[in-house]
Amino acid sequence: MSNREMAVTPRFKTHSQVWSAVGMWAWMLHRLTGIGIVLYLLLHATLMGTSLIRGAEAFNATLNTLMTNPVLHLAEIALVGAIIYHGMNGIRLLLFDIGIGFSRQKEIFWVSMAIGAAMWIFVIISKLS
């Protein structure tokens, strides 16, 4: 049937996204931070694992280079930020999963972000001091 044939031939579609919504950004960031932390985890486990297997000396040496590098300090702050974001938004998602907050999703997002930001700032300050 002519109607049907049209449906099966592959045709151009647009994939324009909706960028103006809170939920969209929340989701994007959650995914990015999630993947980011996984990558960190992989790296972390490999480094720790390999150095530990080689013994205490190697471990101390590795940690020494890592923990005195200023760039890595900044990276660590970013990592903690990512974990905090992922965790705070994760709480928001868990709330939805148990059926709470659909009508207030934006407010919940901003509240959890405010708390997260406070935590992050706290971490940064305590780290810098």
């Binding site: 995914r31 993947i35 996984v38 992989l42 486990a45 694992g49 940690l63 005195t68 965790g87 868990l94």
Partner: protein
């Protein structure tokens, strides 16, 4: 795959548990830490007690499941086709890392 409901549920459960475990972990790292650089000796001192061991084994287990299942979710979202291969690869990585992790923790205890 008909385990969708279970993995989905586990992703939530691990998330909730990670929230607590990671919280404790980070707290220890930042608040209970005196020196600039963590040394083997310090780490060992902490890791010797049973609660700590449990904490880290659990963190490892749950973290790995959450992380790798998370990655798998992303892949399915993107429409990955040979799903079996993906699952195999993730399982291998997961088991590998779990092994390395256990050995590492073991190193401290020894």
């Amino acid at each position: 795959m008909r385990v969708n409901a279970i993995t989905w549920l586990f992703q939530r459960i691990t998330a909730a548990v990670l929230l607590v475990l990671l919280g404790v972990h980070l707290w220890l790292l930042y608040m209970n830490n005196t020196s600039e650089v963590i040394s083997f000796a310090e780490a060992k001192a902490r890791l010797m007690s049973a609660p700590y061991i449990t904490l880290y084994v659990l963190l490892l287990l749950f973290g790995l499941f959450h992380a790798l299942n998370g990655l798998y979710t992303v892949m399915v979202d993107m429409g990955i086709k040979p799903r079996k291969t993906a699952i195999g690869a993730l399982l291998a990585v997961g088991l590998g890392l779990f092994g390395i992790g256990l050995i590492s923790i073991f190193q401290f205890i020894m």
